[in-house]
């Protein structure tokens, strides 16, 4: 009778501990911190803790089961939400520049290479070059001054210039 009572108490303690842990995790489940919740392992780790313990264990507070569990089974993924764009790489700059150039109606996409000169290879004139640099300004969101804009004559030079301005190193 006594042992039955104890076993019943033990399972009740286990359930209670699991519930408390789940509640703690839910209260900590803030938008900025994500726990990789493994509920089964929580109950599994809770089981040996509560098996055969007395009520004094629970009176110690909620910290100890949670501390034990967070060290073993939870993975804390810190995810900070700042308002900024993804970082630029030479690869992405190159792809974006070529994409903008392909959208331009005076350039045929087949002839376009990274080293094709706007005036010599693609047959554009200086007004078109101004338009292209304007499109690049729109794409990357920063202004290119006149003196430097008129020197950019190939896609490769544009990529290099943007990488210099945006401090992108590889």
């Amino acid at each position: 009778m006594r042992s039955d009572c104890l076993v019943h108490c033990g399972s009740g303690l286990r359930n209670m501990a699991a519930r408390i842990i789940a509640r703690c995790v839910r209260s900590l489940n803030h938008p900025s911190v994500y726990f990789n919740r493994i509920n089964t392992s929580a109950t599994l780790t809770a089981a040996p803790l509560t098996h055969g313990r007395t009520f004094s264990y629970l009176t110690n507070g909620h910290k100890s089961p949670l501390a034990q569990i967070s060290s073993s089974s939870f993975q804390v993924l810190q995810w900070r939400q700042y308002g900024d764009l993804p970082p630029l790489t030479l690869e992405t700059i190159h792809d974006r520049v070529l994409y903008v150039l392909k959208l331009y109606d005076k350039i045929s996409p087949e002839k376009l290479q990274a080293t094709s000169h706007f005036m010599k290879d693609l047959g554009l004139d200086s007004l078109d070059q101004v338009e292209i640099i304007m499109a690049m300004e729109d794409e990357f969101g920063f202004e290119i001054p006149d003196a430097e804009a008129e020197k950019l004559m190939t896609p490769q030079e544009i990529v290099q210039y943007i990488a210099d301005k945006k401090d992108v190193y590889e």
Partner: protein
């Protein structure tokens, strides 16, 4: 005796400066057009600016070019003033 080392198609200094002015006013015009809030108006004006500049691209008379640059500046000022008024 002075053999010019420049290729025959090179511009003189005055022509070069004028070319820079034309490109400068074209760029300023495009930048102001960018600020127009309505998309269809923006597209229309961009096409209009393109057409105007392309049409007169082959002009070689310096005085005519100077006159056209002045006209472009006037258009640019009108556009800027309209934008400033429209914003408030």
């Amino acid at each position: 005796m002075a053999v010019s080392r420049l290729p025959p198609a090179a511009l003189s200094l005055k022509q070069f400066l004028q070319r820079q002015k034309v490109l400068g006013v074209y760029r300023d015009l495009l930048r102001s057009i960018r600020k127009i809030p309505i998309e269809s108006d923006r597209r229309y004006l961009r096409d209009w600016a393109r057409e105007e500049f392309k049409r007169n691209k082959s002009e070689t008379d310096q005085d005519v070019i100077r006159m056209m640059i002045t006209q472009a500046h006037n258009h640019l000022e009108d556009l800027r003033r309209s934008l400033a008024l429209a914003r408030c």
